[in-house]
Protein backbone atom coordinates (compact mmCIF):
# COMPACT_ATOMS: atom_id res chain seq x y z
CA UNK A 1 0.00 0.00 0.00
CA UNK A 2 2.83 2.40 0.82
CA UNK A 3 4.32 1.93 -2.65
CA UNK A 4 0.95 2.87 -4.16
CA UNK A 5 0.70 5.83 -1.80
CA UNK A 6 4.08 7.22 -2.87
CA UNK A 7 3.18 6.72 -6.53
CA UNK A 8 -0.07 8.62 -5.95
CA UNK A 9 1.75 11.41 -4.16
CA UNK A 10 4.15 11.78 -7.09
CA UNK A 11 1.17 12.09 -9.45
CA UNK A 12 -0.74 14.52 -7.24
CA UNK A 13 2.30 16.70 -6.56
CA UNK A 14 2.92 17.14 -10.28
CA UNK A 15 -0.69 17.49 -11.30
CA UNK A 16 -1.68 21.03 -12.35
CA UNK A 17 -5.36 20.37 -11.57
CA UNK A 18 -4.56 19.65 -7.93
CA UNK A 19 -2.69 22.93 -7.58
CA UNK A 20 -5.49 24.83 -9.33
CA UNK A 21 -8.03 23.40 -6.89
CA UNK A 22 -5.81 24.39 -3.93
CA UNK A 23 -5.34 27.89 -5.35
CA UNK A 24 -9.07 28.36 -5.98
CA UNK A 25 -9.85 27.15 -2.44
CA UNK A 26 -7.42 29.66 -0.99
CA UNK A 27 -8.61 32.55 -3.15
CA UNK A 28 -12.29 31.91 -2.42
CA UNK A 29 -11.69 31.56 1.32
CA UNK A 30 -9.73 34.82 1.36
CA UNK A 31 -12.27 36.69 -0.73
CA UNK A 32 -15.36 35.63 1.21
CA UNK A 33 -13.87 35.50 4.70
CA UNK A 34 -11.60 38.53 4.66
CA UNK A 35 -11.61 40.66 1.51
CA UNK A 36 -15.37 41.20 1.28
CA UNK A 37 -15.82 41.81 5.04
CA UNK A 38 -12.80 44.13 5.11
CA UNK A 39 -14.17 46.09 2.16
CA UNK A 40 -17.50 46.22 4.00
CA UNK A 41 -15.72 47.55 7.09
CA UNK A 42 -13.99 50.27 5.09
CA UNK A 43 -17.21 51.42 3.43
CA UNK A 44 -19.63 50.93 6.36
CA UNK A 45 -21.63 54.05 7.11
CA UNK A 46 -22.14 53.39 10.80
CA UNK A 47 -19.46 52.78 13.34
CA UNK A 48 -21.13 49.91 15.19
CA UNK A 49 -21.64 47.95 12.02
CA UNK A 50 -18.05 48.65 11.00
CA UNK A 51 -16.79 47.46 14.37
CA UNK A 52 -18.86 44.28 14.18
CA UNK A 53 -17.56 43.51 10.69
CA UNK A 54 -13.98 44.17 11.72
CA UNK A 55 -14.30 41.88 14.75
CA UNK A 56 -15.44 39.04 12.49
CA UNK A 57 -12.06 39.11 10.75
CA UNK A 58 -9.98 39.06 13.92
CA UNK A 59 -7.76 36.08 14.88
CA UNK A 60 -10.21 34.92 17.56
CA UNK A 61 -12.66 34.10 14.75
CA UNK A 62 -10.27 32.52 12.31
CA UNK A 63 -11.52 28.96 12.93
CA UNK A 64 -15.17 29.55 11.90
CA UNK A 65 -13.92 31.89 9.16
CA UNK A 66 -11.62 29.20 7.76
CA UNK A 67 -14.21 26.43 7.67
CA UNK A 68 -17.26 28.57 6.89
CA UNK A 69 -17.06 27.70 3.20
CA UNK A 70 -16.40 24.00 3.66
CA UNK A 71 -20.00 22.76 3.43
CA UNK A 72 -20.46 24.47 0.05
CA UNK A 73 -17.71 25.82 -2.19
CA UNK A 74 -14.72 24.07 -0.62
CA UNK A 75 -16.83 20.91 -0.46
CA UNK A 76 -17.55 21.17 -4.18
CA UNK A 77 -13.84 21.65 -4.86
CA UNK A 78 -12.94 18.63 -2.70
CA UNK A 79 -15.53 16.56 -4.54
CA UNK A 80 -13.95 17.71 -7.78
CA UNK A 81 -10.51 16.66 -6.50
CA UNK A 82 -11.77 13.16 -5.74
CA UNK A 83 -13.59 12.84 -9.05
CA UNK A 84 -10.67 14.22 -11.08
CA UNK A 85 -8.08 12.02 -9.35
CA UNK A 86 -9.99 8.79 -9.91
CA UNK A 87 -11.99 9.65 -13.02
CA UNK A 88 -8.97 10.66 -15.07
CA UNK A 89 -7.44 7.21 -14.46
CA UNK A 90 -10.35 5.84 -16.46
CA UNK A 91 -10.20 8.59 -19.07
CA UNK A 92 -6.50 8.10 -19.76
CA UNK A 93 -6.69 4.33 -19.37
CA UNK A 94 -4.00 4.51 -16.70
CA UNK A 95 -6.01 2.45 -14.21
CA UNK A 96 -5.32 -0.65 -16.26
CA UNK A 97 -1.63 0.27 -16.49
CA UNK A 98 -1.50 0.48 -12.70
CA UNK A 99 -3.48 -2.69 -12.15
CA UNK A 100 -1.10 -4.97 -14.01
CA UNK A 101 2.03 -3.69 -12.27
CA UNK A 102 2.01 -5.68 -9.07
CA UNK A 103 -0.15 -4.56 -6.16
CA UNK A 104 -3.62 -5.93 -5.53
CA UNK A 105 -6.56 -3.71 -6.39
CA UNK A 106 -7.35 -2.91 -2.77
CA UNK A 107 -3.75 -2.01 -2.16
CA UNK A 108 -3.83 0.50 -5.04
CA UNK A 109 -7.15 1.82 -3.77
CA UNK A 110 -5.85 2.27 -0.22
CA UNK A 111 -2.85 4.16 -1.60
CA UNK A 112 -5.14 6.44 -3.59
CA UNK A 113 -7.33 7.16 -0.57
CA UNK A 114 -4.35 7.86 1.65
CA UNK A 115 -2.90 10.26 -0.92
CA UNK A 116 -6.25 12.05 -1.23
CA UNK A 117 -6.47 12.26 2.56
CA UNK A 118 -3.06 13.92 2.66
CA UNK A 119 -4.00 16.29 -0.18
CA UNK A 120 -7.24 17.27 1.58
CA UNK A 121 -5.34 17.83 4.82
CA UNK A 122 -2.90 20.06 2.92
CA UNK A 123 -5.83 22.11 1.56
CA UNK A 124 -7.37 22.48 5.05
CA UNK A 125 -4.10 23.42 6.70
CA UNK A 126 -3.33 25.91 3.91
CA UNK A 127 -6.72 27.58 4.29
CA UNK A 128 -6.26 27.78 8.06
CA UNK A 129 -2.69 29.06 7.75
CA UNK A 130 -3.56 31.74 5.22
CA UNK A 131 -6.61 32.72 7.28
CA UNK A 132 -4.42 33.08 10.36
CA UNK A 133 -1.93 35.19 8.42
CA UNK A 134 -4.60 37.46 6.97
CA UNK A 135 -6.49 37.94 10.23
CA UNK A 136 -3.28 38.75 12.07
CA UNK A 137 -2.35 41.22 9.33
CA UNK A 138 -5.74 42.93 9.65
CA UNK A 139 -5.47 42.98 13.44
CA UNK A 140 -1.96 44.45 13.24
CA UNK A 141 -3.03 47.07 10.73
CA UNK A 142 -5.92 48.13 12.99
CA UNK A 143 -3.85 47.93 16.18
CA UNK A 144 -6.26 45.36 17.59
CA UNK A 145 -5.24 42.71 20.09
CA UNK A 146 -4.52 39.23 18.75
CA UNK A 147 -6.52 36.73 20.77
CA UNK A 148 -5.91 33.35 19.24
CA UNK A 149 -8.13 30.38 19.99
CA UNK A 150 -6.50 27.61 22.06
CA UNK A 151 -4.45 25.07 20.13
CA UNK A 152 -6.93 22.30 20.98
CA UNK A 153 -9.70 24.35 19.33
CA UNK A 154 -7.54 24.93 16.27
CA UNK A 155 -6.80 21.19 16.07
CA UNK A 156 -10.51 20.45 16.39
CA UNK A 157 -11.25 22.95 13.66
CA UNK A 158 -8.65 21.42 11.32
CA UNK A 159 -9.91 17.89 12.07
CA UNK A 160 -13.53 18.90 11.47
CA UNK A 161 -12.61 20.71 8.27
CA UNK A 162 -10.68 17.67 7.09
CA UNK A 163 -13.66 15.41 7.90
CA UNK A 164 -16.05 17.62 5.91
CA UNK A 165 -13.80 17.91 2.86
CA UNK A 166 -12.76 14.26 2.99
CA UNK A 167 -16.40 13.20 2.99
CA UNK A 168 -17.02 15.26 -0.16
CA UNK A 169 -13.77 14.07 -1.69
CA UNK A 170 -14.57 10.37 -1.26
CA UNK A 171 -18.06 11.03 -2.63
CA UNK A 172 -16.37 12.38 -5.77
CA UNK A 173 -14.03 9.37 -5.87
CA UNK A 174 -16.90 6.93 -5.39
CA UNK A 175 -18.91 8.50 -8.21
CA UNK A 176 -15.83 8.34 -10.44
CA UNK A 177 -15.43 4.62 -9.71
CA UNK A 178 -19.12 3.99 -10.33
CA UNK A 179 -19.32 5.99 -13.57
CA UNK A 180 -15.74 5.19 -14.67
CA UNK A 181 -15.07 8.76 -15.66
CA UNK A 182 -14.78 12.31 -14.45
CA UNK A 183 -17.35 14.62 -16.07
CA UNK A 184 -20.56 12.99 -14.89
CA UNK A 185 -19.41 12.59 -11.26
CA UNK A 186 -18.42 16.27 -11.08
CA UNK A 187 -21.71 17.35 -12.64
CA UNK A 188 -23.83 15.16 -10.39
CA UNK A 189 -21.83 16.00 -7.28
CA UNK A 190 -21.99 19.74 -7.79
CA UNK A 191 -25.72 19.58 -8.57
CA UNK A 192 -26.19 17.67 -5.32
CA UNK A 193 -24.18 20.11 -3.20
CA UNK A 194 -25.46 23.33 -4.72
CA UNK A 195 -28.89 22.25 -5.89
CA UNK A 196 -30.51 19.28 -4.22
CA UNK A 197 -29.42 20.09 -0.68
CA UNK A 198 -30.61 23.69 -1.05
CA UNK A 199 -33.99 22.57 -2.37
CA UNK A 200 -34.46 20.22 0.59
CA UNK A 201 -33.45 23.07 2.93
CA UNK A 202 -36.09 25.28 1.34
CA UNK A 203 -38.71 22.55 1.64
CA UNK A 204 -37.79 21.58 5.23
CA UNK A 205 -39.82 24.30 7.02
CA UNK A 206 -42.84 23.44 4.87
CA UNK A 207 -42.89 19.64 4.89
CA UNK A 208 -42.27 17.27 7.80
CA UNK A 209 -40.64 14.57 5.71
CA UNK A 210 -38.35 17.14 4.11
CA UNK A 211 -37.27 18.29 7.58
CA UNK A 212 -36.49 14.69 8.58
CA UNK A 213 -34.65 14.17 5.31
CA UNK A 214 -32.71 17.39 5.80
CA UNK A 215 -31.20 16.16 9.07
CA UNK A 216 -29.69 13.21 7.26
CA UNK A 217 -28.13 15.05 4.34
CA UNK A 218 -24.32 15.20 4.14
CA UNK A 219 -24.22 18.92 3.35
CA UNK A 220 -26.60 19.80 6.19
CA UNK A 221 -24.52 17.78 8.65
CA UNK A 222 -21.37 19.46 7.34
CA UNK A 223 -23.05 22.83 7.92
CA UNK A 224 -24.09 21.79 11.41
CA UNK A 225 -20.53 20.75 12.28
CA UNK A 226 -19.29 24.18 11.17
CA UNK A 227 -22.03 25.79 13.22
CA UNK A 228 -20.93 23.81 16.27
CA UNK A 229 -17.47 25.32 15.84
CA UNK A 230 -18.82 28.85 15.89
CA UNK A 231 -19.81 29.35 12.28
CA UNK A 232 -22.53 31.97 11.82
CA UNK A 233 -25.87 30.82 10.44
CA UNK A 234 -25.75 33.77 8.01
CA UNK A 235 -23.00 31.93 6.12
CA UNK A 236 -24.41 29.94 3.16
CA UNK A 237 -24.46 26.22 3.94
CA UNK A 238 -24.04 26.69 7.69
CA UNK A 239 -26.99 25.68 9.87
CA UNK A 240 -27.83 24.22 13.24
CA UNK A 241 -30.14 21.43 12.12
CA UNK A 242 -28.30 18.88 14.29
CA UNK A 243 -25.72 19.09 17.06
CA UNK A 244 -21.99 18.88 16.41
CA UNK A 245 -21.47 15.33 17.67
CA UNK A 246 -24.27 13.91 15.57
CA UNK A 247 -23.04 15.87 12.56
CA UNK A 248 -19.52 14.45 12.94
CA UNK A 249 -20.85 10.90 13.30
CA UNK A 250 -23.09 11.24 10.26
CA UNK A 251 -20.19 12.59 8.18
CA UNK A 252 -17.98 9.68 9.28
CA UNK A 253 -20.77 7.25 8.36
CA UNK A 254 -21.14 8.82 4.92
CA UNK A 255 -17.40 8.78 4.30
CA UNK A 256 -17.12 5.12 5.34
CA UNK A 257 -20.11 4.17 3.19
CA UNK A 258 -18.66 5.97 0.14
CA UNK A 259 -15.28 4.29 0.66
CA UNK A 260 -16.85 0.83 0.92
CA UNK A 261 -19.12 1.26 -2.10
CA UNK A 262 -16.18 2.42 -4.21
CA UNK A 263 -14.05 -0.50 -2.97
CA UNK A 264 -16.78 -2.95 -3.89
CA UNK A 265 -17.12 -1.45 -7.38
CA UNK A 266 -13.36 -1.53 -7.99
CA UNK A 267 -12.90 -5.05 -6.68
CA UNK A 268 -15.84 -6.62 -8.49
CA UNK A 269 -15.81 -4.98 -11.88
CA UNK A 270 -13.58 -5.53 -14.87
CA UNK A 271 -10.97 -2.88 -15.62
CA UNK A 272 -11.53 -2.02 -19.26
Amino acid sequence: MLASFWAEMLKLRNRPAAWVLLLVSLVLSQVFNYLVPYAGYLTADNERAAERILMSTMPENFIPNSIGGFPLFAGALALTLGAVSIGSEYGWGTLKTIMFQRPRRMSVYAGELLALAVAVLAIVVSIFALGALTSSAIAASQSESMDWPPLTEIARGVASGWLILMMWCVLGAMLAFLFRGMALPIGLGVVWILGVENLVNVAAPLLDFAEALQRGLPGVNAGSLVSALGGGSDTPGVNSAVDGTQAALVLVAYAVAFVLIAAFALQRRDVT
Binding site: K11, R15, G93, T94, M99, F100, Q101, R102
Partner: protein, 306 residues
Protein backbone atom coordinates in the same frame (compact mmCIF):
# COMPACT_ATOMS: atom_id res chain seq x y z
CA UNK B 1 -1.85 -26.20 -15.07
CA UNK B 2 1.28 -26.18 -17.18
CA UNK B 3 4.80 -27.49 -16.74
CA UNK B 4 7.92 -25.57 -15.84
CA UNK B 5 8.50 -24.47 -19.41
CA UNK B 6 4.94 -23.36 -20.03
CA UNK B 7 4.61 -19.70 -19.06
CA UNK B 8 1.07 -19.08 -20.21
CA UNK B 9 -1.65 -21.64 -20.51
CA UNK B 10 -5.35 -21.28 -21.00
CA UNK B 11 -8.00 -23.98 -21.01
CA UNK B 12 -11.38 -23.22 -22.58
CA UNK B 13 -11.02 -19.58 -21.62
CA UNK B 14 -14.30 -17.80 -22.32
CA UNK B 15 -15.56 -14.26 -21.90
CA UNK B 16 -19.18 -13.43 -22.54
CA UNK B 17 -20.84 -10.03 -22.31
CA UNK B 18 -24.52 -10.61 -21.65
CA UNK B 19 -26.14 -13.53 -23.40
CA UNK B 20 -25.37 -12.55 -27.01
CA UNK B 21 -21.77 -11.42 -27.18
CA UNK B 22 -19.03 -14.03 -26.89
CA UNK B 23 -15.76 -12.10 -27.06
CA UNK B 24 -13.55 -15.12 -26.36
CA UNK B 25 -14.85 -18.61 -26.95
CA UNK B 26 -13.14 -21.60 -25.28
CA UNK B 27 -9.61 -20.53 -26.16
CA UNK B 28 -6.88 -22.99 -25.18
CA UNK B 29 -3.37 -21.83 -25.91
CA UNK B 30 0.13 -22.47 -24.64
CA UNK B 31 3.10 -20.11 -24.59
CA UNK B 32 6.46 -21.74 -23.83
CA UNK B 33 9.51 -20.27 -22.18
CA UNK B 34 11.83 -18.31 -24.48
CA UNK B 35 9.58 -18.10 -27.51
CA UNK B 36 8.01 -15.15 -29.28
CA UNK B 37 4.39 -16.17 -29.60
CA UNK B 38 2.21 -14.32 -32.09
CA UNK B 39 -1.45 -14.00 -31.30
CA UNK B 40 -2.86 -13.31 -34.70
CA UNK B 41 -6.35 -12.30 -35.66
CA UNK B 42 -8.48 -9.61 -37.26
CA UNK B 43 -9.62 -6.56 -35.30
CA UNK B 44 -12.33 -7.59 -32.89
CA UNK B 45 -11.30 -11.26 -32.92
CA UNK B 46 -10.79 -11.37 -29.13
CA UNK B 47 -7.03 -10.80 -28.82
CA UNK B 48 -7.18 -7.85 -26.43
CA UNK B 49 -9.89 -9.45 -24.30
CA UNK B 50 -7.75 -12.57 -23.95
CA UNK B 51 -4.71 -10.51 -22.98
CA UNK B 52 -6.72 -8.55 -20.44
CA UNK B 53 -7.86 -11.82 -18.90
CA UNK B 54 -4.25 -12.98 -18.72
CA UNK B 55 -3.36 -9.80 -16.83
CA UNK B 56 -6.25 -10.10 -14.39
CA UNK B 57 -7.93 -6.94 -15.64
CA UNK B 58 -11.11 -8.74 -16.61
CA UNK B 59 -12.48 -11.96 -15.23
CA UNK B 60 -13.26 -14.88 -17.50
CA UNK B 61 -16.82 -16.10 -17.64
CA UNK B 62 -15.55 -19.68 -17.65
CA UNK B 63 -12.41 -21.67 -18.29
CA UNK B 64 -9.04 -21.35 -16.63
CA UNK B 65 -5.73 -19.61 -17.22
CA UNK B 66 -2.33 -19.70 -15.64
CA UNK B 67 0.44 -17.13 -16.04
CA UNK B 68 3.85 -18.09 -14.68
CA UNK B 69 2.18 -20.80 -12.66
CA UNK B 70 -0.31 -18.52 -10.96
CA UNK B 71 -3.82 -17.32 -11.55
CA UNK B 72 -3.94 -14.21 -13.78
CA UNK B 73 -3.52 -10.99 -11.81
CA UNK B 74 -1.74 -12.66 -8.88
CA UNK B 75 0.87 -10.22 -7.53
CA UNK B 76 3.63 -12.86 -7.68
CA UNK B 77 3.09 -13.49 -11.39
CA UNK B 78 2.48 -9.81 -12.20
CA UNK B 79 5.87 -9.04 -10.62
CA UNK B 80 7.46 -11.05 -13.47
CA UNK B 81 5.24 -9.80 -16.30
CA UNK B 82 5.66 -6.61 -18.31
CA UNK B 83 2.77 -5.53 -20.50
CA UNK B 84 1.56 -2.99 -22.98
CA UNK B 85 -2.15 -3.31 -23.62
CA UNK B 86 -3.58 -1.39 -26.59
CA UNK B 87 -2.34 2.21 -26.71
CA UNK B 88 0.26 3.11 -24.07
CA UNK B 89 -1.78 4.56 -21.20
CA UNK B 90 0.36 6.93 -19.17
CA UNK B 91 -0.05 10.34 -17.52
CA UNK B 92 0.00 13.16 -20.09
CA UNK B 93 1.01 15.88 -17.61
CA UNK B 94 4.05 13.96 -16.37
CA UNK B 95 7.39 13.68 -18.14
CA UNK B 96 8.45 10.34 -19.54
CA UNK B 97 10.86 10.02 -16.63
CA UNK B 98 8.21 10.77 -13.99
CA UNK B 99 5.80 8.36 -15.66
CA UNK B 100 8.38 5.63 -15.25
CA UNK B 101 8.97 6.70 -11.63
CA UNK B 102 5.24 6.27 -10.98
CA UNK B 103 5.23 2.84 -12.62
CA UNK B 104 8.40 1.82 -10.75
CA UNK B 105 6.77 2.71 -7.44
CA UNK B 106 3.65 0.69 -8.20
CA UNK B 107 5.74 -2.21 -9.44
CA UNK B 108 8.03 -2.07 -6.42
CA UNK B 109 11.20 -1.92 -8.49
CA UNK B 110 14.18 0.38 -7.81
CA UNK B 111 14.18 3.65 -9.73
CA UNK B 112 17.75 2.82 -10.74
CA UNK B 113 16.32 0.66 -13.52
CA UNK B 114 14.64 3.59 -15.24
CA UNK B 115 17.75 4.87 -17.01
CA UNK B 116 18.45 1.46 -18.56
CA UNK B 117 14.85 1.10 -19.75
CA UNK B 118 14.92 4.56 -21.34
CA UNK B 119 18.24 3.74 -22.98
CA UNK B 120 16.86 0.47 -24.33
CA UNK B 121 14.00 2.24 -26.13
CA UNK B 122 16.08 5.24 -27.17
CA UNK B 123 14.22 7.87 -25.18
CA UNK B 124 16.91 9.12 -22.82
CA UNK B 125 17.17 12.51 -24.53
CA UNK B 126 13.44 13.19 -24.38
CA UNK B 127 12.80 11.70 -20.94
CA UNK B 128 12.22 15.08 -19.28
CA UNK B 129 9.59 16.17 -21.81
CA UNK B 130 5.93 15.77 -21.01
CA UNK B 131 4.32 12.57 -22.26
CA UNK B 132 1.62 14.67 -23.96
CA UNK B 133 4.24 16.13 -26.30
CA UNK B 134 5.49 12.72 -27.51
CA UNK B 135 4.75 11.37 -30.97
CA UNK B 136 2.78 8.12 -31.15
CA UNK B 137 5.98 6.16 -31.80
CA UNK B 138 7.65 7.70 -28.76
CA UNK B 139 4.60 6.93 -26.64
CA UNK B 140 4.76 3.30 -27.76
CA UNK B 141 8.43 3.16 -26.92
CA UNK B 142 7.82 4.66 -23.47
CA UNK B 143 5.05 2.10 -22.96
CA UNK B 144 7.55 -0.64 -23.77
CA UNK B 145 10.09 0.95 -21.41
CA UNK B 146 7.43 0.84 -18.68
CA UNK B 147 6.85 -2.83 -19.48
CA UNK B 148 10.60 -3.51 -19.22
CA UNK B 149 11.06 -1.90 -15.79
CA UNK B 150 10.41 -5.16 -13.97
CA UNK B 151 12.97 -6.93 -16.18
CA UNK B 152 10.12 -9.33 -16.87
CA UNK B 153 10.32 -12.99 -17.80
CA UNK B 154 7.20 -12.54 -19.86
CA UNK B 155 6.36 -9.56 -22.03
CA UNK B 156 2.74 -9.19 -23.15
CA UNK B 157 2.45 -6.70 -26.01
CA UNK B 158 -0.93 -5.95 -27.52
CA UNK B 159 -0.70 -4.54 -31.04
CA UNK B 160 2.45 -2.55 -30.26
CA UNK B 161 2.79 -1.16 -33.80
CA UNK B 162 -0.81 -0.05 -34.11
CA UNK B 163 -1.12 3.40 -35.64
CA UNK B 164 2.60 3.81 -36.34
CA UNK B 165 4.07 4.96 -39.63
CA UNK B 166 6.21 2.42 -41.54
CA UNK B 167 9.49 3.68 -40.05
CA UNK B 168 8.00 3.51 -36.55
CA UNK B 169 6.79 -0.02 -37.20
CA UNK B 170 10.27 -1.13 -38.24
CA UNK B 171 11.75 0.46 -35.08
CA UNK B 172 9.30 -1.28 -32.78
CA UNK B 173 9.65 -4.64 -34.55
CA UNK B 174 13.43 -4.45 -34.29
CA UNK B 175 13.05 -3.64 -30.61
CA UNK B 176 10.70 -6.56 -30.01
CA UNK B 177 13.00 -8.90 -31.89
CA UNK B 178 15.90 -7.84 -29.69
CA UNK B 179 13.79 -8.23 -26.55
CA UNK B 180 12.72 -11.72 -27.52
CA UNK B 181 16.14 -12.92 -28.62
CA UNK B 182 17.34 -14.07 -25.18
CA UNK B 183 15.60 -15.92 -22.38
CA UNK B 184 12.64 -13.59 -22.35
CA UNK B 185 9.28 -14.84 -23.56
CA UNK B 186 7.11 -12.52 -25.61
CA UNK B 187 3.39 -12.82 -26.24
CA UNK B 188 2.60 -10.44 -29.08
CA UNK B 189 -0.84 -9.80 -30.49
CA UNK B 190 -1.22 -8.41 -33.95
CA UNK B 191 -3.63 -8.24 -36.84
CA UNK B 192 -0.68 -7.82 -39.23
CA UNK B 193 0.44 -11.06 -40.80
CA UNK B 194 3.78 -9.74 -42.00
CA UNK B 195 4.64 -8.59 -38.51
CA UNK B 196 3.93 -11.98 -36.98
CA UNK B 197 5.78 -13.74 -39.79
CA UNK B 198 8.87 -11.59 -39.21
CA UNK B 199 8.98 -11.71 -35.43
CA UNK B 200 7.30 -14.81 -34.06
CA UNK B 201 8.37 -18.39 -33.50
CA UNK B 202 4.89 -19.78 -32.96
CA UNK B 203 1.48 -18.43 -33.81
CA UNK B 204 -2.01 -18.79 -32.43
CA UNK B 205 -4.69 -17.74 -34.90
CA UNK B 206 -7.89 -16.38 -33.40
CA UNK B 207 -11.02 -15.59 -35.33
CA UNK B 208 -14.40 -14.57 -33.91
CA UNK B 209 -13.22 -15.41 -30.43
CA UNK B 210 -12.05 -18.92 -31.30
CA UNK B 211 -8.50 -20.19 -31.58
CA UNK B 212 -8.54 -21.88 -34.97
CA UNK B 213 -4.88 -22.88 -35.19
CA UNK B 214 -1.76 -22.93 -33.08
CA UNK B 215 1.64 -23.98 -34.40
CA UNK B 216 4.94 -22.70 -35.78
CA UNK B 217 4.96 -20.21 -38.65
CA UNK B 218 6.41 -22.92 -40.92
CA UNK B 219 3.72 -25.42 -40.01
CA UNK B 220 1.02 -22.88 -40.62
CA UNK B 221 2.41 -22.07 -44.04
CA UNK B 222 2.28 -25.76 -44.83
CA UNK B 223 4.78 -27.76 -46.93
CA UNK B 224 4.15 -25.58 -49.93
CA UNK B 225 3.99 -26.63 -53.57
CA UNK B 226 6.09 -27.01 -56.71
CA UNK B 227 5.65 -24.99 -59.89
CA UNK B 228 6.65 -26.73 -63.12
CA UNK B 229 6.93 -25.26 -66.62
CA UNK B 230 7.26 -28.19 -69.03
CA UNK B 231 6.62 -29.29 -72.62
CA UNK B 232 4.43 -30.88 -73.70
CA UNK B 233 2.21 -29.64 -70.89
CA UNK B 234 -0.51 -32.29 -71.25
CA UNK B 235 2.03 -35.09 -71.15
CA UNK B 236 3.67 -33.56 -68.09
CA UNK B 237 0.29 -33.26 -66.34
CA UNK B 238 -0.52 -36.91 -66.99
CA UNK B 239 2.87 -38.06 -65.70
CA UNK B 240 2.55 -35.84 -62.58
CA UNK B 241 -0.91 -37.26 -61.89
CA UNK B 242 0.52 -40.77 -62.13
CA UNK B 243 3.20 -39.81 -59.60
CA UNK B 244 1.14 -37.75 -57.10
CA UNK B 245 -2.52 -38.42 -57.81
CA UNK B 246 -4.86 -36.24 -59.83
CA UNK B 247 -6.11 -34.27 -56.84
CA UNK B 248 -2.61 -32.90 -56.18
CA UNK B 249 -2.03 -31.53 -59.68
CA UNK B 250 -3.47 -28.32 -61.11
CA UNK B 251 -2.78 -26.30 -64.23
CA UNK B 252 -2.68 -22.51 -64.01
CA UNK B 253 -1.50 -20.27 -66.86
CA UNK B 254 0.27 -23.12 -68.64
CA UNK B 255 2.11 -23.95 -65.42
CA UNK B 256 1.72 -27.10 -63.38
CA UNK B 257 1.14 -26.58 -59.70
CA UNK B 258 1.98 -29.69 -57.74
CA UNK B 259 0.91 -30.16 -54.14
CA UNK B 260 4.20 -31.71 -53.12
CA UNK B 261 6.98 -31.20 -50.61
CA UNK B 262 9.66 -28.97 -52.24
CA UNK B 263 12.24 -31.48 -50.99
CA UNK B 264 10.97 -33.95 -53.62
CA UNK B 265 11.71 -31.55 -56.50
CA UNK B 266 14.77 -33.49 -57.71
CA UNK B 267 12.91 -36.79 -57.82
CA UNK B 268 9.96 -35.27 -59.74
CA UNK B 269 12.37 -33.63 -62.18
CA UNK B 270 14.05 -37.00 -62.86
CA UNK B 271 10.68 -38.70 -63.42
CA UNK B 272 9.50 -36.02 -65.87
CA UNK B 273 12.75 -35.91 -67.81
CA UNK B 274 12.84 -39.72 -67.86
CA UNK B 275 9.41 -39.68 -69.48
CA UNK B 276 10.77 -37.53 -72.30
CA UNK B 277 9.35 -34.26 -71.00
CA UNK B 278 11.33 -31.05 -71.38
CA UNK B 279 11.38 -29.32 -67.97
CA UNK B 280 12.06 -25.62 -68.51
CA UNK B 281 11.49 -24.56 -64.90
CA UNK B 282 10.86 -26.30 -61.60
CA UNK B 283 10.77 -24.28 -58.40
CA UNK B 284 9.23 -24.44 -54.93
CA UNK B 285 6.31 -22.19 -54.16
CA UNK B 286 5.93 -21.57 -50.41
CA UNK B 287 2.67 -20.23 -49.12
CA UNK B 288 2.94 -17.00 -47.21
CA UNK B 289 1.41 -16.83 -43.77
CA UNK B 290 -1.19 -14.54 -45.30
CA UNK B 291 -2.28 -17.25 -47.72
CA UNK B 292 -2.36 -19.78 -44.91
CA UNK B 293 -4.34 -17.40 -42.74
CA UNK B 294 -6.84 -16.64 -45.48
CA UNK B 295 -7.24 -20.33 -46.21
CA UNK B 296 -7.93 -21.00 -42.54
CA UNK B 297 -10.29 -18.14 -42.01
CA UNK B 298 -12.09 -18.80 -45.30
CA UNK B 299 -12.91 -22.23 -43.98
CA UNK B 300 -14.41 -20.52 -40.96
CA UNK B 301 -16.14 -17.87 -43.05
CA UNK B 302 -13.75 -15.11 -42.06
CA UNK B 303 -11.28 -13.27 -44.24
CA UNK B 304 -11.07 -9.65 -43.14
CA UNK B 305 -7.64 -9.40 -41.70
CA UNK B 306 -6.01 -5.98 -41.92
Amino acid sequence: MGGKDVLVETRDLTKRYGTRIVAVDRVSLTVRRGEVYGFLGPNGAGKTTTMRMLLGLIRPTSGAASVLGRAPGHPESLARVGALVEAPALYPYLSGLDNLRVIARYAGVPEGRIAAALEKVGLTDRSRDRFATYSLGMKQRLGIAAALLKDPELLILDEPTNGLDPAGMVDIRDLIRSLGSGERTVLLSSHMLGEVEQICDRVGVISRGRLIAESTVEELRGKGALLVVAKPLEHARQRAEQLLGAERVEVHDRTLRLDADPATAGQINRELVGAGIEVAELRPMERTLEEAFLAMTDQKGESNVG
